[in-house]
Amino acid sequence: MSDFHSPSIAYTALAPMLCIGAAAIVGVLIDAFVPRALRWSAQIAAALLGLVGALIAVAVLAGTHTVTADTALSIDGPTLFLQGTIAVLGIGSVLLVADRSPALDGGAFAAQAASTPGSADERAGIQAGRIQTEVFPLLMFAVLGMMIFPASNDLLVLFVSLEVLSLPLYLLCGLARRRRLLSQEAAVKYFLLGAFSSAFFLYGLALLYGYAGTVSLSGIQAATLTGQHNDTLLFLGLGLLSVGMLFKIGAAPFHNWVPDVYHGAPTPITAFMASATKVAAFGALLRVFYVSFAGLGWEWRPAAWGVAILTMVVGSLFAVTQTDVKRMLAYSSVAHAGFILVGVIALNRSGLSGSLFYLLTYSLTTVGAFGVLTLVRDPDGEATHLSRWAGLGRRSPVIGSVFALFLLALAGIPLTSGFTGKFAVFSAGVSGGATPLVIVGVITSAIAAFFYIRVIVMMFFAEPVADGPIVATPGGATAASIAMAVAVTIVLGVFPQPILDMANHAAPFYH
Protein backbone atom coordinates (compact mmCIF):
# COMPACT_ATOMS: atom_id res chain seq x y z
CA MET A 1 0.00 0.00 0.00
CA SER A 2 1.44 3.31 -1.00
CA ASP A 3 1.56 6.24 1.32
CA PHE A 4 -1.49 8.34 1.39
CA HIS A 5 -1.26 11.83 0.03
CA SER A 6 -4.06 14.29 0.29
CA PRO A 7 -5.74 14.88 -3.02
CA SER A 8 -5.72 18.44 -4.22
CA ILE A 9 -9.21 19.69 -4.70
CA ALA A 10 -9.75 22.77 -6.85
CA TYR A 11 -12.79 24.06 -5.04
CA THR A 12 -13.28 26.94 -7.45
CA ALA A 13 -13.56 24.55 -10.35
CA LEU A 14 -16.22 22.67 -8.44
CA ALA A 15 -18.18 25.84 -7.76
CA PRO A 16 -21.19 24.95 -9.97
CA MET A 17 -21.65 21.64 -8.20
CA LEU A 18 -21.06 23.17 -4.79
CA CYS A 19 -23.71 25.81 -5.50
CA ILE A 20 -26.27 23.15 -6.32
CA GLY A 21 -25.28 20.97 -3.40
CA ALA A 22 -25.54 23.92 -1.04
CA ALA A 23 -28.93 24.80 -2.43
CA ALA A 24 -30.11 21.24 -1.93
CA ILE A 25 -28.92 21.13 1.67
CA VAL A 26 -30.41 24.53 2.37
CA GLY A 27 -33.63 23.15 0.92
CA VAL A 28 -33.58 20.30 3.44
CA LEU A 29 -32.97 22.78 6.26
CA ILE A 30 -35.80 24.99 5.03
CA ASP A 31 -38.11 22.04 5.23
CA ALA A 32 -36.90 21.36 8.72
CA PHE A 33 -36.97 24.82 10.24
CA VAL A 34 -38.97 27.32 8.20
CA PRO A 35 -42.66 27.68 9.14
CA ARG A 36 -45.04 25.98 6.77
CA ALA A 37 -46.49 29.19 5.33
CA LEU A 38 -43.13 30.42 4.07
CA ARG A 39 -41.66 27.12 2.98
CA TRP A 40 -42.87 27.12 -0.58
CA SER A 41 -41.48 30.52 -1.49
CA ALA A 42 -38.30 29.94 0.46
CA GLN A 43 -37.73 26.70 -1.39
CA ILE A 44 -38.23 28.33 -4.77
CA ALA A 45 -35.84 31.10 -3.83
CA ALA A 46 -33.18 28.67 -2.64
CA ALA A 47 -33.46 26.46 -5.71
CA LEU A 48 -33.36 29.33 -8.18
CA LEU A 49 -30.50 31.00 -6.34
CA GLY A 50 -28.51 27.81 -6.43
CA LEU A 51 -29.18 27.26 -10.12
CA VAL A 52 -28.42 30.84 -11.11
CA GLY A 53 -25.31 30.72 -8.97
CA ALA A 54 -24.23 27.55 -10.73
CA LEU A 55 -24.89 29.16 -14.10
CA ILE A 56 -22.78 32.18 -13.17
CA ALA A 57 -20.05 29.91 -11.86
CA VAL A 58 -20.07 28.02 -15.15
CA ALA A 59 -19.79 31.29 -17.05
CA VAL A 60 -16.88 32.44 -14.90
CA LEU A 61 -15.13 29.09 -15.23
CA ALA A 62 -15.47 29.02 -19.02
CA GLY A 63 -12.21 27.94 -20.57
CA THR A 64 -11.04 25.97 -17.55
CA HIS A 65 -9.34 22.64 -18.16
CA THR A 66 -8.49 20.80 -15.04
CA VAL A 67 -8.66 17.39 -13.50
CA THR A 68 -9.26 17.63 -9.81
CA ALA A 69 -10.06 15.61 -6.69
CA ASP A 70 -7.29 13.19 -7.59
CA THR A 71 -8.50 12.50 -11.14
CA ALA A 72 -12.05 11.88 -9.99
CA LEU A 73 -13.53 14.90 -11.72
CA SER A 74 -12.63 16.59 -14.95
CA ILE A 75 -13.72 20.18 -15.35
CA ASP A 76 -13.30 20.87 -19.04
CA GLY A 77 -15.18 22.35 -21.98
CA PRO A 78 -17.83 19.65 -22.41
CA THR A 79 -18.39 19.46 -18.66
CA LEU A 80 -18.98 23.18 -18.37
CA PHE A 81 -21.15 23.28 -21.48
CA LEU A 82 -23.32 20.47 -20.14
CA GLN A 83 -23.40 21.87 -16.62
CA GLY A 84 -24.54 25.18 -18.02
CA THR A 85 -27.20 23.42 -20.05
CA ILE A 86 -28.36 21.46 -17.02
CA ALA A 87 -28.50 24.60 -14.91
CA VAL A 88 -30.67 26.29 -17.52
CA LEU A 89 -32.90 23.23 -17.75
CA GLY A 90 -33.06 23.13 -13.98
CA ILE A 91 -34.28 26.71 -13.94
CA GLY A 92 -36.89 25.89 -16.56
CA SER A 93 -38.07 22.83 -14.67
CA VAL A 94 -38.12 24.56 -11.28
CA LEU A 95 -40.29 27.24 -12.83
CA LEU A 96 -42.68 24.61 -14.13
CA VAL A 97 -42.74 22.87 -10.77
CA ALA A 98 -43.22 26.14 -8.94
CA ASP A 99 -46.38 27.13 -10.76
CA ARG A 100 -49.28 26.61 -8.39
CA SER A 101 -51.60 29.18 -9.91
CA PRO A 102 -55.32 28.40 -9.49
CA ALA A 103 -55.63 27.82 -13.23
CA LEU A 104 -53.47 24.74 -12.78
CA ASP A 105 -55.55 23.53 -9.84
CA GLY A 106 -52.77 24.00 -7.38
CA GLY A 107 -49.81 22.53 -9.19
CA ALA A 108 -48.82 19.10 -10.32
CA PHE A 109 -47.77 17.52 -7.05
CA ALA A 110 -49.54 15.48 -4.42
CA ALA A 111 -50.44 17.18 -1.16
CA GLN A 112 -48.92 14.28 0.70
CA ALA A 113 -47.23 11.47 -1.13
CA ALA A 114 -47.74 9.07 1.74
CA SER A 115 -51.52 9.30 1.83
CA THR A 116 -53.36 6.61 -0.08
CA PRO A 117 -55.10 7.74 -3.27
CA GLY A 118 -58.81 8.25 -2.70
CA SER A 119 -58.52 8.19 1.08
CA ALA A 120 -59.99 10.68 3.50
CA ASP A 121 -56.45 11.53 4.48
CA GLU A 122 -55.74 12.66 0.93
CA ARG A 123 -58.87 14.79 0.71
CA ALA A 124 -58.07 16.42 4.01
CA GLY A 125 -54.59 17.20 2.80
CA ILE A 126 -55.86 18.82 -0.37
CA GLN A 127 -58.46 20.83 1.50
CA ALA A 128 -55.95 22.06 3.99
CA GLY A 129 -53.92 23.28 1.01
CA ARG A 130 -50.97 21.24 2.13
CA ILE A 131 -48.10 20.89 -0.26
CA GLN A 132 -45.07 18.80 -0.54
CA THR A 133 -42.15 21.20 -0.47
CA GLU A 134 -39.66 18.33 -0.53
CA VAL A 135 -40.00 18.43 -4.30
CA PHE A 136 -37.42 21.17 -4.48
CA PRO A 137 -34.59 19.59 -2.47
CA LEU A 138 -35.21 16.35 -4.33
CA LEU A 139 -34.99 18.19 -7.62
CA MET A 140 -31.81 19.90 -6.54
CA PHE A 141 -30.19 16.64 -5.48
CA ALA A 142 -31.07 15.23 -8.88
CA VAL A 143 -29.52 18.29 -10.51
CA LEU A 144 -26.43 17.77 -8.37
CA GLY A 145 -26.12 14.22 -9.64
CA MET A 146 -26.58 15.42 -13.18
CA MET A 147 -23.88 18.03 -12.74
CA ILE A 148 -21.39 15.49 -11.47
CA PHE A 149 -22.32 12.78 -13.98
CA PRO A 150 -20.75 14.33 -17.09
CA ALA A 151 -17.81 15.61 -15.05
CA SER A 152 -16.91 12.20 -13.65
CA ASN A 153 -13.50 11.09 -14.67
CA ASP A 154 -13.65 7.71 -13.05
CA LEU A 155 -16.21 4.97 -13.03
CA LEU A 156 -16.88 5.07 -9.31
CA VAL A 157 -17.83 8.74 -9.32
CA LEU A 158 -19.85 7.97 -12.42
CA PHE A 159 -21.76 5.28 -10.56
CA VAL A 160 -22.35 7.36 -7.44
CA SER A 161 -23.54 10.38 -9.41
CA LEU A 162 -25.75 8.12 -11.52
CA GLU A 163 -27.46 7.01 -8.34
CA VAL A 164 -27.57 10.51 -6.89
CA LEU A 165 -29.43 11.68 -9.96
CA SER A 166 -31.66 8.61 -10.18
CA LEU A 167 -32.86 8.13 -6.62
CA PRO A 168 -34.64 11.50 -6.28
CA LEU A 169 -36.15 11.02 -9.73
CA TYR A 170 -37.66 7.68 -8.72
CA LEU A 171 -39.44 9.46 -5.90
CA LEU A 172 -40.43 12.50 -7.92
CA CYS A 173 -42.12 10.30 -10.49
CA GLY A 174 -44.58 9.09 -7.89
CA LEU A 175 -45.68 12.47 -6.63
CA ALA A 176 -48.39 13.43 -9.13
CA ARG A 177 -51.42 15.16 -7.70
CA ARG A 178 -53.88 13.57 -10.12
CA ARG A 179 -54.01 10.10 -11.61
CA ARG A 180 -51.94 8.93 -8.71
CA LEU A 181 -52.15 5.28 -9.54
CA LEU A 182 -50.47 5.95 -12.85
CA SER A 183 -47.90 8.05 -11.12
CA GLN A 184 -47.09 5.42 -8.53
CA GLU A 185 -46.92 2.76 -11.17
CA ALA A 186 -44.48 4.91 -13.10
CA ALA A 187 -42.35 5.27 -9.98
CA VAL A 188 -42.28 1.52 -9.34
CA LYS A 189 -41.41 0.73 -12.92
CA TYR A 190 -38.74 3.36 -13.11
CA PHE A 191 -37.28 2.29 -9.81
CA LEU A 192 -37.15 -1.44 -10.48
CA LEU A 193 -35.83 -1.08 -13.99
CA GLY A 194 -33.46 1.70 -12.98
CA ALA A 195 -32.03 -0.40 -10.19
CA PHE A 196 -31.78 -3.34 -12.58
CA SER A 197 -29.81 -1.25 -15.03
CA SER A 198 -27.57 0.08 -12.26
CA ALA A 199 -26.71 -3.47 -11.39
CA PHE A 200 -25.54 -4.01 -14.97
CA PHE A 201 -23.62 -0.79 -14.89
CA LEU A 202 -21.96 -1.85 -11.68
CA TYR A 203 -21.02 -5.25 -12.96
CA GLY A 204 -19.52 -3.59 -15.98
CA LEU A 205 -17.58 -1.34 -13.64
CA ALA A 206 -16.31 -4.34 -11.71
CA LEU A 207 -15.17 -6.14 -14.85
CA LEU A 208 -13.41 -3.06 -16.17
CA TYR A 209 -11.74 -2.69 -12.81
CA GLY A 210 -10.65 -6.26 -13.11
CA TYR A 211 -9.38 -5.54 -16.61
CA ALA A 212 -7.42 -2.39 -15.92
CA GLY A 213 -6.82 -2.55 -12.19
CA THR A 214 -8.20 0.96 -11.92
CA VAL A 215 -11.48 2.70 -12.45
CA SER A 216 -10.16 6.01 -13.73
CA LEU A 217 -11.09 6.65 -17.32
CA SER A 218 -7.55 7.57 -18.29
CA GLY A 219 -6.25 4.46 -16.59
CA ILE A 220 -8.62 2.30 -18.57
CA GLN A 221 -7.62 4.07 -21.76
CA ALA A 222 -3.98 3.41 -20.97
CA ALA A 223 -4.74 -0.25 -20.38
CA THR A 224 -6.56 -0.57 -23.71
CA LEU A 225 -3.55 0.91 -25.46
CA THR A 226 -1.09 -1.61 -24.07
CA GLY A 227 -3.31 -4.51 -25.10
CA GLN A 228 -1.70 -6.82 -22.53
CA HIS A 229 -4.85 -7.48 -20.56
CA ASN A 230 -7.77 -9.82 -20.78
CA ASP A 231 -9.91 -8.65 -23.68
CA THR A 232 -12.94 -10.66 -22.65
CA LEU A 233 -13.15 -8.75 -19.40
CA LEU A 234 -12.81 -5.53 -21.32
CA PHE A 235 -15.63 -6.14 -23.76
CA LEU A 236 -17.97 -7.74 -21.28
CA GLY A 237 -17.36 -4.82 -18.98
CA LEU A 238 -17.81 -2.26 -21.72
CA GLY A 239 -21.07 -3.86 -22.82
CA LEU A 240 -22.55 -4.00 -19.34
CA LEU A 241 -21.38 -0.50 -18.51
CA SER A 242 -23.07 0.76 -21.67
CA VAL A 243 -26.33 -0.89 -20.65
CA GLY A 244 -26.54 1.36 -17.62
CA MET A 245 -25.93 4.51 -19.61
CA LEU A 246 -28.05 3.53 -22.59
CA PHE A 247 -30.87 2.87 -20.15
CA LYS A 248 -30.66 6.40 -18.85
CA ILE A 249 -30.67 7.97 -22.30
CA GLY A 250 -33.57 5.76 -23.31
CA ALA A 251 -31.93 3.91 -26.18
CA ALA A 252 -33.58 0.79 -27.55
CA PRO A 253 -33.80 -2.00 -26.43
CA PHE A 254 -33.43 -0.34 -23.02
CA HIS A 255 -36.13 2.20 -23.71
CA ASN A 256 -39.26 0.41 -22.51
CA TRP A 257 -39.49 2.42 -19.34
CA VAL A 258 -39.46 5.74 -21.18
CA PRO A 259 -43.05 5.92 -22.45
CA ASP A 260 -44.58 4.50 -19.30
CA VAL A 261 -42.61 6.63 -16.90
CA TYR A 262 -42.85 9.83 -18.91
CA HIS A 263 -46.56 9.24 -19.18
CA GLY A 264 -47.20 8.57 -15.53
CA ALA A 265 -44.90 11.10 -13.93
CA PRO A 266 -46.07 14.63 -13.08
CA THR A 267 -45.57 16.64 -16.25
CA PRO A 268 -43.00 19.11 -14.85
CA ILE A 269 -40.94 16.11 -13.74
CA THR A 270 -41.35 14.52 -17.15
CA ALA A 271 -40.03 17.73 -18.64
CA PHE A 272 -37.08 17.57 -16.30
CA MET A 273 -36.35 13.91 -16.96
CA ALA A 274 -36.76 14.14 -20.70
CA SER A 275 -34.37 17.06 -20.87
CA ALA A 276 -31.86 17.19 -18.08
CA THR A 277 -31.44 13.46 -17.48
CA LYS A 278 -30.82 12.92 -21.13
CA VAL A 279 -28.27 15.71 -21.24
CA ALA A 280 -26.40 14.38 -18.24
CA ALA A 281 -26.48 10.78 -19.39
CA PHE A 282 -25.27 11.66 -22.86
CA GLY A 283 -22.54 13.75 -21.30
CA ALA A 284 -21.32 10.74 -19.36
CA LEU A 285 -21.70 8.43 -22.34
CA LEU A 286 -19.71 10.80 -24.51
CA ARG A 287 -16.96 11.09 -21.94
CA VAL A 288 -16.65 7.37 -21.37
CA PHE A 289 -16.57 6.54 -25.06
CA TYR A 290 -14.43 9.46 -26.17
CA VAL A 291 -11.90 9.21 -23.36
CA SER A 292 -11.59 5.55 -22.47
CA PHE A 293 -12.69 3.66 -25.51
CA ALA A 294 -11.94 5.94 -28.44
CA GLY A 295 -9.10 3.66 -29.48
CA LEU A 296 -11.46 0.70 -29.67
CA GLY A 297 -13.85 2.46 -32.04
CA TRP A 298 -13.69 -0.33 -34.58
CA GLU A 299 -14.65 -2.87 -31.99
CA TRP A 300 -17.65 -1.18 -30.42
CA ARG A 301 -19.00 0.57 -33.45
CA PRO A 302 -20.99 -2.35 -34.90
CA ALA A 303 -22.89 -2.78 -31.64
CA ALA A 304 -23.38 0.96 -31.33
CA TRP A 305 -24.69 1.13 -34.88
CA GLY A 306 -27.23 -1.52 -34.06
CA VAL A 307 -28.38 0.31 -30.97
CA ALA A 308 -28.59 3.64 -32.77
CA ILE A 309 -30.55 2.24 -35.71
CA LEU A 310 -32.91 0.33 -33.44
CA THR A 311 -33.43 3.39 -31.29
CA MET A 312 -34.23 5.68 -34.20
CA VAL A 313 -36.54 3.17 -35.82
CA VAL A 314 -38.34 2.15 -32.66
CA GLY A 315 -38.75 5.71 -31.45
CA SER A 316 -40.19 7.12 -34.62
CA LEU A 317 -42.15 4.04 -35.62
CA PHE A 318 -43.91 3.58 -32.31
CA ALA A 319 -44.72 7.24 -32.02
CA VAL A 320 -46.76 7.13 -35.21
CA THR A 321 -49.72 5.34 -33.68
CA GLN A 322 -49.70 6.98 -30.26
CA THR A 323 -52.92 8.67 -29.30
CA ASP A 324 -51.62 10.41 -26.21
CA VAL A 325 -49.54 13.53 -26.71
CA LYS A 326 -47.42 12.93 -23.64
CA ARG A 327 -46.65 9.39 -24.71
CA MET A 328 -45.93 10.52 -28.24
CA LEU A 329 -43.39 13.01 -26.92
CA ALA A 330 -41.89 10.19 -24.88
CA TYR A 331 -41.35 8.06 -27.96
CA SER A 332 -40.06 11.07 -29.78
CA SER A 333 -37.46 11.47 -27.06
CA VAL A 334 -36.40 7.89 -27.76
CA ALA A 335 -35.99 8.75 -31.42
CA HIS A 336 -33.97 11.81 -30.51
CA ALA A 337 -31.68 9.69 -28.37
CA GLY A 338 -31.01 7.71 -31.53
CA PHE A 339 -30.19 10.84 -33.48
CA ILE A 340 -27.74 11.99 -30.85
CA LEU A 341 -26.13 8.56 -30.81
CA VAL A 342 -25.18 9.23 -34.43
CA GLY A 343 -23.07 12.09 -33.13
CA VAL A 344 -21.55 9.89 -30.44
CA ILE A 345 -20.65 7.22 -32.96
CA ALA A 346 -18.99 9.79 -35.22
CA LEU A 347 -16.20 9.71 -32.64
CA ASN A 348 -14.61 12.92 -33.80
CA ARG A 349 -14.47 16.45 -32.60
CA SER A 350 -17.43 17.62 -34.63
CA GLY A 351 -19.40 14.64 -33.37
CA LEU A 352 -18.75 15.76 -29.83
CA SER A 353 -19.62 19.39 -30.42
CA GLY A 354 -22.60 18.44 -32.57
CA SER A 355 -23.96 16.20 -29.84
CA LEU A 356 -23.47 18.91 -27.24
CA PHE A 357 -25.33 21.38 -29.39
CA TYR A 358 -28.09 18.93 -30.18
CA LEU A 359 -28.56 18.20 -26.50
CA LEU A 360 -28.96 21.88 -25.76
CA THR A 361 -31.49 22.48 -28.51
CA TYR A 362 -33.46 19.30 -27.99
CA SER A 363 -33.69 19.60 -24.24
CA LEU A 364 -34.88 23.19 -24.17
CA THR A 365 -37.50 22.54 -26.79
CA THR A 366 -38.64 19.53 -24.80
CA VAL A 367 -39.01 21.52 -21.59
CA GLY A 368 -41.15 23.99 -23.50
CA ALA A 369 -43.29 21.30 -25.09
CA PHE A 370 -44.02 19.59 -21.79
CA GLY A 371 -44.63 23.01 -20.28
CA VAL A 372 -47.39 23.55 -22.82
CA LEU A 373 -48.83 20.16 -21.88
CA THR A 374 -49.37 21.37 -18.31
CA LEU A 375 -51.61 24.13 -19.61
CA VAL A 376 -54.12 22.14 -21.62
CA ARG A 377 -56.50 20.86 -19.02
CA ASP A 378 -59.69 18.95 -18.45
CA PRO A 379 -61.55 19.10 -15.17
CA ASP A 380 -59.63 16.05 -13.93
CA GLY A 381 -56.16 17.21 -14.88
CA GLU A 382 -54.15 17.52 -18.04
CA ALA A 383 -55.87 16.59 -21.28
CA THR A 384 -53.19 14.61 -23.03
CA HIS A 385 -55.30 12.51 -25.35
CA LEU A 386 -54.73 13.59 -28.93
CA SER A 387 -58.45 13.75 -29.73
CA ARG A 388 -58.86 16.37 -27.04
CA TRP A 389 -56.39 18.58 -28.85
CA ALA A 390 -58.52 18.86 -31.96
CA GLY A 391 -59.01 22.45 -32.97
CA LEU A 392 -56.96 23.70 -30.05
CA GLY A 393 -54.95 25.99 -32.30
CA ARG A 394 -58.11 27.71 -33.42
CA ARG A 395 -59.41 28.31 -29.95
CA SER A 396 -56.17 29.56 -28.49
CA PRO A 397 -53.85 30.49 -31.34
CA VAL A 398 -50.96 31.55 -29.14
CA ILE A 399 -50.59 28.28 -27.26
CA GLY A 400 -51.31 26.40 -30.48
CA SER A 401 -48.59 28.25 -32.36
CA VAL A 402 -46.10 27.86 -29.54
CA PHE A 403 -46.67 24.14 -29.40
CA ALA A 404 -46.52 23.96 -33.19
CA LEU A 405 -43.17 25.71 -33.04
CA PHE A 406 -41.84 23.14 -30.58
CA LEU A 407 -43.13 20.30 -32.71
CA LEU A 408 -41.56 21.76 -35.83
CA ALA A 409 -38.30 22.09 -33.94
CA LEU A 410 -38.50 18.48 -32.80
CA ALA A 411 -39.24 17.49 -36.38
CA GLY A 412 -36.12 19.34 -37.49
CA ILE A 413 -37.73 21.85 -39.81
CA PRO A 414 -35.24 24.50 -40.94
CA LEU A 415 -35.01 27.83 -39.12
CA THR A 416 -35.75 26.14 -35.82
CA SER A 417 -33.12 24.95 -33.41
CA GLY A 418 -34.01 21.33 -34.13
CA PHE A 419 -32.82 21.60 -37.70
CA THR A 420 -29.50 23.11 -36.74
CA GLY A 421 -28.96 20.42 -34.14
CA LYS A 422 -29.87 17.58 -36.42
CA PHE A 423 -27.74 19.06 -39.08
CA ALA A 424 -24.74 19.34 -36.79
CA VAL A 425 -25.05 15.74 -35.65
CA PHE A 426 -25.74 14.25 -39.05
CA SER A 427 -22.94 16.08 -40.80
CA ALA A 428 -20.61 14.91 -38.05
CA GLY A 429 -21.91 11.40 -38.64
CA VAL A 430 -21.15 11.59 -42.32
CA SER A 431 -17.66 12.91 -41.75
CA GLY A 432 -17.16 10.20 -39.14
CA GLY A 433 -17.86 7.51 -41.73
CA ALA A 434 -21.36 6.68 -40.55
CA THR A 435 -23.19 7.59 -43.74
CA PRO A 436 -25.60 4.62 -43.68
CA LEU A 437 -26.52 5.57 -40.15
CA VAL A 438 -27.22 9.11 -41.29
CA ILE A 439 -29.43 7.79 -44.06
CA VAL A 440 -31.44 5.84 -41.51
CA GLY A 441 -31.54 9.00 -39.47
CA VAL A 442 -32.87 11.07 -42.34
CA ILE A 443 -35.51 8.49 -43.19
CA THR A 444 -36.66 8.08 -39.62
CA SER A 445 -36.76 11.86 -39.23
CA ALA A 446 -39.09 11.88 -42.21
CA ILE A 447 -41.31 9.35 -40.47
CA ALA A 448 -41.03 11.32 -37.26
CA ALA A 449 -42.01 14.53 -39.03
CA PHE A 450 -45.24 12.81 -39.95
CA PHE A 451 -46.49 12.43 -36.42
CA TYR A 452 -45.36 15.85 -35.30
CA ILE A 453 -47.16 17.41 -38.23
CA ARG A 454 -50.19 15.29 -37.47
CA VAL A 455 -50.57 17.01 -34.12
CA ILE A 456 -50.25 20.40 -35.79
CA VAL A 457 -52.89 19.42 -38.33
CA MET A 458 -55.08 18.21 -35.50
CA MET A 459 -54.69 21.49 -33.67
CA PHE A 460 -55.32 23.77 -36.59
CA PHE A 461 -57.38 21.91 -39.16
CA ALA A 462 -59.71 19.73 -37.15
CA GLU A 463 -62.98 21.06 -35.83
CA PRO A 464 -62.69 21.93 -32.14
CA VAL A 465 -64.23 19.32 -29.87
CA ALA A 466 -67.45 20.43 -28.23
CA ASP A 467 -66.47 20.31 -24.56
CA GLY A 468 -62.81 20.69 -25.31
CA PRO A 469 -60.13 21.16 -22.70
CA ILE A 470 -59.53 24.52 -21.17
CA VAL A 471 -56.28 26.18 -21.99
CA ALA A 472 -55.18 27.56 -18.68
CA THR A 473 -53.64 30.99 -18.57
CA PRO A 474 -50.16 30.15 -17.43
CA GLY A 475 -48.89 31.55 -14.19
CA GLY A 476 -45.82 33.73 -14.45
CA ALA A 477 -43.45 30.85 -13.77
CA THR A 478 -44.73 28.53 -16.47
CA ALA A 479 -44.97 31.42 -18.89
CA ALA A 480 -41.37 32.34 -18.19
CA SER A 481 -40.23 28.77 -18.72
CA ILE A 482 -42.10 28.40 -22.00
CA ALA A 483 -40.99 31.82 -23.20
CA MET A 484 -37.39 30.87 -22.57
CA ALA A 485 -37.84 27.71 -24.60
CA VAL A 486 -39.50 29.61 -27.46
CA ALA A 487 -36.72 32.17 -27.55
CA VAL A 488 -33.99 29.56 -27.59
CA THR A 489 -35.77 27.46 -30.20
CA ILE A 490 -36.03 30.39 -32.58
CA VAL A 491 -32.69 32.01 -31.90
CA LEU A 492 -30.77 28.77 -32.23
CA GLY A 493 -32.58 28.13 -35.49
CA VAL A 494 -31.78 31.47 -37.03
CA PHE A 495 -28.53 32.55 -35.38
CA PRO A 496 -27.01 29.37 -34.04
CA GLN A 497 -23.47 30.49 -34.62
CA PRO A 498 -22.45 31.79 -31.19
CA ILE A 499 -23.66 28.66 -29.43
CA LEU A 500 -22.27 26.39 -32.13
CA ASP A 501 -18.94 28.13 -31.69
CA MET A 502 -19.19 27.56 -27.97
CA ALA A 503 -19.85 23.88 -28.53
CA ASN A 504 -16.94 23.74 -30.94
CA HIS A 505 -14.62 25.36 -28.45
CA ALA A 506 -15.90 23.11 -25.68
CA ALA A 507 -14.56 20.01 -27.40
CA PRO A 508 -12.47 17.94 -26.82
CA PHE A 509 -12.43 16.20 -23.46
CA TYR A 510 -9.61 16.86 -21.06
CA HIS A 511 -8.50 13.98 -18.92
Binding site: D3, F4, S6, P7, I25, V28, L29, D31, A32, F33
Partner: protein
Protein backbone atom coordinates in the same frame (compact mmCIF):
# COMPACT_ATOMS: atom_id res chain seq x y z
CA UNK B 1 -6.18 -29.60 9.62
CA UNK B 2 -7.84 -32.67 11.01
CA UNK B 3 -8.67 -31.16 14.45
CA UNK B 4 -10.47 -28.35 12.70
CA UNK B 5 -12.54 -30.77 10.66
CA UNK B 6 -13.38 -32.78 13.75
CA UNK B 7 -14.35 -29.63 15.62
CA UNK B 8 -16.55 -28.50 12.75
CA UNK B 9 -18.28 -31.86 12.49
CA UNK B 10 -18.87 -31.93 16.21
CA UNK B 11 -20.24 -28.40 16.23
CA UNK B 12 -22.63 -28.94 13.35
CA UNK B 13 -23.68 -32.30 14.69
CA UNK B 14 -24.45 -30.83 18.09
CA UNK B 15 -26.53 -28.04 16.61
CA UNK B 16 -28.56 -30.38 14.46
CA UNK B 17 -28.99 -32.83 17.30
CA UNK B 18 -30.24 -30.15 19.72
CA UNK B 19 -32.86 -28.86 17.31
CA UNK B 20 -34.16 -32.29 16.40
CA UNK B 21 -34.07 -33.58 19.94
CA UNK B 22 -35.82 -30.50 21.28
CA UNK B 23 -38.67 -30.76 18.84
CA UNK B 24 -39.05 -34.47 19.52
CA UNK B 25 -38.75 -34.45 23.28
CA UNK B 26 -40.42 -31.19 24.27
CA UNK B 27 -44.10 -30.94 25.20
CA UNK B 28 -46.27 -29.05 22.70
CA UNK B 29 -48.57 -26.83 24.71
CA UNK B 30 -49.04 -23.42 23.13
CA UNK B 31 -50.46 -20.33 24.74
CA UNK B 32 -50.64 -16.62 23.86
CA UNK B 33 -47.49 -15.69 25.67
CA UNK B 34 -45.45 -18.30 23.88
CA UNK B 35 -46.60 -17.21 20.41
CA UNK B 36 -45.87 -13.54 20.97
CA UNK B 37 -42.75 -11.82 19.73
CA UNK B 38 -40.06 -11.82 22.34
CA UNK B 39 -39.51 -8.29 23.63
CA UNK B 40 -37.64 -8.84 26.90
CA UNK B 41 -40.83 -9.73 28.70
CA UNK B 42 -42.50 -6.45 27.84
CA UNK B 43 -45.91 -6.47 26.16
CA UNK B 44 -45.12 -5.93 22.45
CA UNK B 45 -46.62 -2.69 21.24
CA UNK B 46 -48.33 -1.82 19.06
CA UNK B 47 -49.88 -5.04 17.90
CA UNK B 48 -49.50 -6.25 14.36
CA UNK B 49 -52.40 -5.23 12.18
CA UNK B 50 -55.01 -8.01 12.08
CA UNK B 51 -52.43 -10.53 12.90
CA UNK B 52 -50.19 -10.24 9.86
CA UNK B 53 -49.26 -6.68 9.04
CA UNK B 54 -47.13 -4.36 11.10
CA UNK B 55 -47.77 -0.62 11.17
CA UNK B 56 -45.67 1.53 8.91
CA UNK B 57 -43.90 3.01 11.92
CA UNK B 58 -41.67 -0.02 12.15
CA UNK B 59 -40.73 0.42 8.56
CA UNK B 60 -39.92 4.05 9.05
CA UNK B 61 -37.73 3.37 12.04
CA UNK B 62 -35.97 0.54 10.27
CA UNK B 63 -35.26 2.73 7.29
CA UNK B 64 -33.90 5.52 9.43
CA UNK B 65 -31.71 3.02 11.16
CA UNK B 66 -30.31 1.74 7.88
CA UNK B 67 -29.57 5.20 6.60
CA UNK B 68 -27.81 6.38 9.71
CA UNK B 69 -26.12 3.09 10.26
CA UNK B 70 -24.52 3.10 6.88
CA UNK B 71 -22.42 6.16 7.64
CA UNK B 72 -20.23 3.94 9.78
CA UNK B 73 -19.00 2.41 6.59
CA UNK B 74 -17.13 5.63 5.84
CA UNK B 75 -16.19 6.39 9.42
CA UNK B 76 -14.51 3.06 9.96
CA UNK B 77 -11.84 3.20 7.25
CA UNK B 78 -11.23 6.82 8.10
CA UNK B 79 -10.68 5.91 11.75
CA UNK B 80 -8.28 3.14 10.75
CA UNK B 81 -6.18 5.45 8.60
CA UNK B 82 -6.73 8.55 10.71
CA UNK B 83 -3.05 9.22 11.22
CA UNK B 84 -2.19 9.13 7.57
CA UNK B 85 -5.17 11.14 6.44
CA UNK B 86 -4.35 14.07 8.65
CA UNK B 87 -6.06 17.41 8.46
CA UNK B 88 -7.56 16.82 5.07
CA UNK B 89 -9.33 13.69 6.23
CA UNK B 90 -10.61 15.40 9.33
CA UNK B 91 -12.10 18.31 7.43
CA UNK B 92 -13.75 16.07 4.87
CA UNK B 93 -15.18 13.82 7.52
CA UNK B 94 -16.59 16.78 9.43
CA UNK B 95 -18.26 17.97 6.25
CA UNK B 96 -19.66 14.52 5.71
CA UNK B 97 -21.03 14.30 9.22
CA UNK B 98 -22.50 17.78 8.93
CA UNK B 99 -24.36 16.70 5.82
CA UNK B 100 -25.70 13.69 7.67
CA UNK B 101 -26.73 15.93 10.52
CA UNK B 102 -28.72 18.14 8.20
CA UNK B 103 -30.78 15.11 7.28
CA UNK B 104 -31.01 14.16 10.94
CA UNK B 105 -32.34 17.62 11.74
CA UNK B 106 -34.88 17.24 8.99
CA UNK B 107 -36.07 13.89 10.26
CA UNK B 108 -36.26 15.19 13.80
CA UNK B 109 -38.14 18.38 12.93
CA UNK B 110 -40.62 16.62 10.69
CA UNK B 111 -41.53 14.12 13.37
CA UNK B 112 -39.75 11.11 11.96
CA UNK B 113 -38.42 10.15 15.38
CA UNK B 114 -41.70 10.29 17.21
CA UNK B 115 -43.37 6.97 17.79
CA UNK B 116 -46.94 8.24 17.93
Amino acid sequence: MIPIVVLAVLGVGFAVFSIIAGSLAGPKRFNKAKLESYECGIEPSPQAFRGHRFPVKYYLTAMLFIVFDIEIIFLYPWAVAFNKLGMFGLVEMILFILAVFVVYAYVWRRGGLEWD
